[in-house]
């Protein structure tokens, strides 16, 4: 069996119908467990107080905002190289999920930053690259909506996705590249001294897996919707031709 079988819309829909209930339930459960655990059963941080509880939303959302863009990049490259419509539609389907994750990361970051840094916003390398990533998401979605021909839209959005990948990478590594600004480095690290305490990291891992599965469930569902919307257009075009 080849992975390219899933480039067939019918095969993709059949498989996603089978997988989605598992994804919905597991993502819902893990997000609920992670967030309840983090909100109700973790201690306050000795410096940040109870604001540390925002980490359970901020970090998974930021992680998914960046990873959603990388998933869109892979899907766009598959479209550019192999011309599989399902992959272009999967990239299109992922963008609104990615932009919501980016918005959550920006909003929770601003809310968290106000009491900790004394400001809602700073032109810090990571914050700025995240804002640019948000603007790229907006542009990507707008470009899909602005072009009638779906193949042309897929081509142009794929190029935009390639360009925007620079900012997805910068969003992740800006702290390391410039080593300045207000934003701290990675919260999770293999180095025990760098890593946050287990009391915080364990529910954080649960939230991260939950957000990842939620993203997958949304992308599967939304790709199915895009495939059906494309079929409606094709059927209507056929009807017009026959009439």
């Amino acid at each position: 069996m080849s992975i390219w079988e899933y480039a067939n819309p019918r095969k993709f829909l059949q498989t996603s119908e089978r997988v989605m209930p598992v994804l919905w339930v597991s993502s819902g459960l893990l997000m609920a467990v992670g967030l309840i655990w983090g909100f109700f059963f973790t201690p306050d941080d000795y410096r940040q107080g109870s604001t540390v509880k925002i980490i359970f939303l901020h970090v998974p959302a930021a992680l998914m905002a960046i990873n959603a863009w990388f998933m869109m990049l892979v899907a766009s490259l598959i479209w550019v190289i192999r011309r599989h419509h399902v992959s272009a539609l999967a990239a299109k389907a992922a963008a609104p999920v990615g932009i919501v994750m980016t918005l959550i990361a920006l909003a929770t970051g601003a809310i968290w930053g106000q009491p900790m840094w004394g400001t809602w916003w700073a032109w810090d390398p990571r914050l700025t690259s995240f804002l640019v990533l948000f603007l790229f998401y907006l542009g990507y979605i707008a470009l899909w909506e602005a072009i009638d021909n779906p193949d042309t839209a897929a081509d142009l959005t794929s190029i935009l996705c390639l360009v925007g990948t620079v900012f997805a990478v910068l969003s992740r590594y800006a702290v390391n590249f410039w080593n300045q600004g207000l934003h701290q480095g990675a919260s999770l690290s293999l180095d025990e001294k760098e890593n946050v305490a287990d009391a915080f990291s364990n529910p954080l891992y649960v939230c991260m897996i939950g957000f990842g599965l939620f993203f997958l469930a949304m992308v599967f569902y939304r790709t199915g919707t895009e495939i059906r919307a494309r079929r409606i257009k094709a059927l209507m075009a056929r009807q017009r031709q026959e009439a």
Binding site: G49, T51, I54, I104, M218
Partner: protein, 52 residues
Amino acid sequence: MLPDLGKYSETVLSAYAASLLLLALLVVLTLWRGRRVRRDMDTLEQRMRRDG
């Protein structure tokens, strides 16, 4: 029963409220559009089968 969030209660609660609201909005809009498109496609396919 909410945990004691101290002087940062507004900060923490507003971050959770904003995030959960955005996630709920995304889910509702996704399901709403998905159902509408599925219904439209079924209707169109039925009509085309009926009309031959």
